[in-house]
Amino acid sequence: MRLSSPAVRWTARGVLLAALIIYPFVVPQPGFWVVNIGIKSLWLGVMALSLIFLYKFTGLLSLGQLAFWGAAGYTIGYLVQLQGWSFAPAIALGIVFGILLGALVGSFAIRASGVYFLMLTLAVAQLMYFAALQASQFTRGHQGITGIRPPTFLGLDLVSARTQYLVALTIAVLLYVLCRYIEGTPFGLALRGLRDSPERMRALGYNVYAYKVVAFSFAAFIASIGGVLAIFYNRQIVPDGVGLIRTIDVLIAAVVGGVISLPGAFIGAFALTMVQNFSQFFTSRYLTLTGVVFVVVVLFFPQGIAGLWRQFTGYYLWAHDRWRPATRDAVEGKGVGAGAAQLSERSTD
């Protein structure tokens, strides 16, 4: 049976999913492995998913997803903790606010492309950070809104680490499946067309602008959900949560995982979470370590961890085709090209 046959793949998915569900019941020290590693990887993964969705479908790389994370988080924190609302309407409103902010930011940001867009969204995230610091009637300033106790929903007590993990897992899987679904819908196909040849699509009568704004708003929706999950995890929302370091965390998770691969979001988030928790066994300079890993990944593994298999089989196939000593041209052309192809094609168009 071939490794890529549907039966094998479905078995693998089933096993993986089962493992993920059993996970909280079998790990030692669940307070650490379920919470610090499990839930953290899931919500960070959702954030990376938001970034990757946008990149995969529009070719736009955003550093601003935390702004929507923060918009949802602060709305919930403010309404629940400072206004005494119950969670359900606060969460609904938080997500709506995240999406609206996404539509607003999207309506001017998507007019930019490439590296302009990157800087613009970075500025949006920073604006969110400074606003969180300054609008202290709503955000309680530097200290943030703290002491948020996760609620009980439909009999699910989110204070319990395992329940919270399973809820986060369900939501993450749903979002992932939703993104996969969109890939095949006319909307998803149109987006990819817009990404690859906007002029042709425009000629075909597509409203490029509207499509992109909707895509951006959808990414903001995913990010808002990430914000909801994170507020249960952190039990607080503070300006540092939308600060530059966290912005870069999301970027690192997405890029290391594989910036054009939806599952890469969670792989990257998991990898980053592990490094954050265990790096001090190798080094006291955590930022240097992450920085070096990040640079190496961008330079040599542009498809990230998720693309490693494809990248290496690519090398293999290429070497196989040319069993004779390769010419210099081919080495240079293909050596970089095999891995870099997708990332660079995207961003130079």
Partner: protein, 288 residues
């Protein structure tokens, strides 16, 4: 009224520094269409280098010179070592330089620690000089920054508009392939421009380090403000950087004087307003 003008003068001097930092960034972008997000790191490193040299030799000029040269070389190494193979891919360049800025910030913290470092202002500039019309005394060093910024601005303008090198750069901005095809080694021009841009960051570090202290976080602060400056002014345009610097510095200073808590928010608000109205920046060309 006097206060109003003093604040304006403060804005102008801050604008001088912002322009110095942002000019290097916009120069590199203008020709190569890449953004060096480690630019703030180069600024801070330049400041630390100048601080070290000045402490050892007591010469401000020497410190500034060494900072400019050394950071130019650091930029060169960065470009040749990491960015050369990917310089056609603006996104990956941005990502790699983000990684470099993380590493740089961490290493500078390890080496220079968290304590603020200040470069002593050069002795003859430590006085306050009377400003005509306003009837106030103003620190000579701050006025000197404006002078340097104007000089650098004019220098860059002359370089770009009056020399063969500038001609190649301007042609390269418009059409890289055509320049290459006409037998000019555009690679060499890239190297020179990257070196010049980095050197400007190093020089600004030395100059800025004597006005504002050098400490962890300053790298990101100056990177962000330079980005805002060139986004507002129009990326790739030296004139735009000057205009952007003045606008940003004015907004931040008047905000500090009259609504101090909102300074940072207003600066980013300015940027978003400009973008909403004119996405390519005030003096920017339409993005390709």
């Amino acid at each position: 009224m006097r206060q109003f003008f003093t604040v304006g003068l403060n804005g102008l001097t801050l604008a001088g520094l912002y322009f110095l930092v942002a000019s290097g960034l916009t120069l590199i972008f203008g020709l190569m269409r890449i953004v060096n997000l480690a630019h703030g790191t180069l600024y801070l490193l330049g400041g630390y280098v100048a601080w070290t040299v000045i402490r050892a030799t007591d010469s401000f000029m020497l410190g500034a010179l060494v900072a400019a040269l050394l950071i130019g070389v650091v930029g060169l190494v960065l470009h040749q070592g990491l960015l050369r193979t990917i310089e056609r891919d603006d996104m990956r360049v941005a990502l790699v330089t983000i990684g470099v800025s993380l590493i740089g910030a961490d290493q500078m913290l390890a080496y220079f620690g968290g304590v603020a470092h200040s470069i002593p202002t050069p002795e003859p500039l430590r006085t306050a000089v009377p400003v005509p019309l306003l009837g106030i005394n103003y620190p000579a060093y701050r006025l000197t920054i404006v002078g340097i910024a104007v000089a650098v601005g004019i220098g860059l303008w002359l370089l770009l508009s009056r020399t063969r090198f500038g001609m190649i750069v301007r042609a390269g901005v418009d059409d890289r392939e055509m320049v290459s095809a006409s037998g000019i080694n555009i690679r060499l021009v890239f190297v020179a421009v990257f070196l010049l841009g980095a050197a400007l960051a190093g020089l600004s570090g030395a100059i800025g380090g004597a006005a504002f202290s050098l400490a962890p976080g300053v790298d990101m602060q100056f990177l962000l403000f330079s980005l805002v400056v060139i986004i507002v002014g129009g990326m790739g345009s030296v004139g735009g950087a000057a205009l952007g610097a003045v606008l940003v510095a004015m907004v931040s200073n008047y905000a500090l004087a009259y609504a101090s808590s909102f300074a940072a928010v207003l600066v980013f608000g300015l940027m978003i307003t400009v973008l909403a109205v004119r996405p390519q920046g005030i003096l920017g060309k339409v993005a390709v």
